[in-house]
Homo-oligomer: 280 residues x 2
């Protein structure tokens, strides 16, 4: 039997895999990588060996790790993998000065961003975006499939009770116990009355969401960026010029040019009349 990850030896969402392997009479198991989950971590292999099954572990774990890098990231750091996403004019605005932003990017980019959502465990927005855009945060793609969980990072004010998001049973992260019409609430450590970014991200991952798409708004994006939570990003650069100052993708200040952080541009493609840039 060839498996990428060490078979588990504990009762999680499913019974132990090792019991099923032993019962099936498998003679040899080749494992890509050991499971960093402390409930498994070597115990799976030990159980197989104790049942006289020959066990071989790959000397190189990179390929096995690449099957689900976010799983390893979470088990090793407790943190989710966060992809920052925004759509911006060619002159750097994610919204006009009045906050309007529909539609900066073209139809093809928007379709692409729904495919991006479909690959994620959850889509994260701040309360400001919830109020301004009333989004559903679902993946509108043809193929039926698992939808990302909507996650709202609550501010200090009550969330709008009539928002469409409640239909989708969001996970709400708040620094205080607040009433929500539907979904789940996780209360985490506070920083100035708002959920402290690392605590918020950790709470989301602990709820089982490892791959997050961070869609803004700018203040949330900046808070998570400066907390070092952003693993990579997708920028849709629209073939449009706003012609003046609008809203920047990240809120707060960019004080001095030396404060800029280098990222690695890993993919650039044209989508319709937009450009999609991936960085990490």
């Amino acid at each position: 039997m060839f498996v990428s990850l060490e078979p588990c030896s504990h009762h999680g969402r499913t019974p132990p895999c090792v019991d099923a392997i032993i019962a099936a009479g498998v003679g040899r198991v080749v494992v890509g990588i050991g499971d960093p989950d402390p409930r498994v971590s070597g115990k799976g292999l030990d159980t197989l060996r104790a049942a006289d099954i020959q066990v071989t572990v790959s000397p190189s774990d990179e390929e096995a790790r690449s099957v689900d890098p976010s799983y390893f990231r979470h088990r090793e750091t407790g943190l989710p993998t966060v992809v920052l996403k925004y759509a911006m004019t060619l002159d750097g605005s994610v919204a006009a000065a009045d906050g309007s932003s529909r539609w900066i990017s073209g139809e093809e980019s928007r379709a692409d961003s729904h495919r991006l959502r479909a690959r994620m465990d959850a889509v994260v927005v701040g309360a400001g975006t919830l109020r301004a855009d009333d989004p559903l945060l679902d993946a509108r793609i043809d193929e039926a499939g698992r939808q990302p969980r909507p996650i709202v990072i609550a501010g200090s004010e009550p969330l709008p009770g009539s928002a469409r998001i409640w239909e989708r049973h969001p996970l709400v992260i708040s620094a205080i116990d607040i009433p929500i019409p539907a979904g789940d609430l996780a209360v985490v450590a506070s920083r100035d009355g708002l959920p402290e970014p690392v605590s918020a991200a950790r709470a989301i991952a602990d709820s089982g969401y490892y791959d997050l798409l961070l869609e803004g708004g700018p203040l949330l994006a900046a808070a998570w960026w400066h907390a070092g939570l952003v693993s990579s990003g997708v920028v849709y650069l629209a073939g449009k010029i706003g012609g003046g100052k609008g809203v920047s993708p990240l809120g707060g200040l960019f004080p001095n040019v030396d404060d800029a952080k280098s990222v690695r541009i890993i993919a650039v493609i044209q989508i319709g009349n937009d450009v999609r840039i991936e960085f990490e």
Copy 2:
């Protein structure tokens, strides 16, 4: 004899071409396109025909026009061809909030932007950029060649007498008669004390500079953009995140998303860890 442009029949920087053609005893001249310059416009062809030279004009002038599109643009509209250029972080800043901008883009992009300058007749900046960056506006490339003329659009305050630009004998465009240490001064129509954009552009083209690289700053870029003077643009998008609000490529406001103008993205390439986007 095959020529792309109708041979001239007037004394400009050189004597009439038609006289030389007639004197050389050429029997037939095939012309790509008639010269829109009112001093020529058909008179060149007429002179050749009057000298019993057989003249054929191409039925399709597109290829001949593409040899020097800016010449035709100027002769037909009186305006230069303006390429807007800026280097911006992935989150939309051409400079940090304190105005610092060295170096947002990488070394390869900067080398590319010098090659871009080398293809231009002139490089245009505002007085603010002159004060902030003290630029030379030259093309620092290995191949020796004609350098673009530096052009400064003056504001209402005196220009710094110690700026390095004076070494390069700039053309200064001003709405008032101001003393300059070196170079040439053209006084044009005023709008709020600043050179009115179309008059400024026309004066530059009338001085023989048809291909201009507009390098900012943001207020000048916005004024020329909103005056409809920008024909195309080159954006160097750096593999950097400023992490907050800095300086936008265009000054003034982007009031509402409907005020954004669509441009066509015509080329996208990765240069080092930056992305170069051309639009028109």
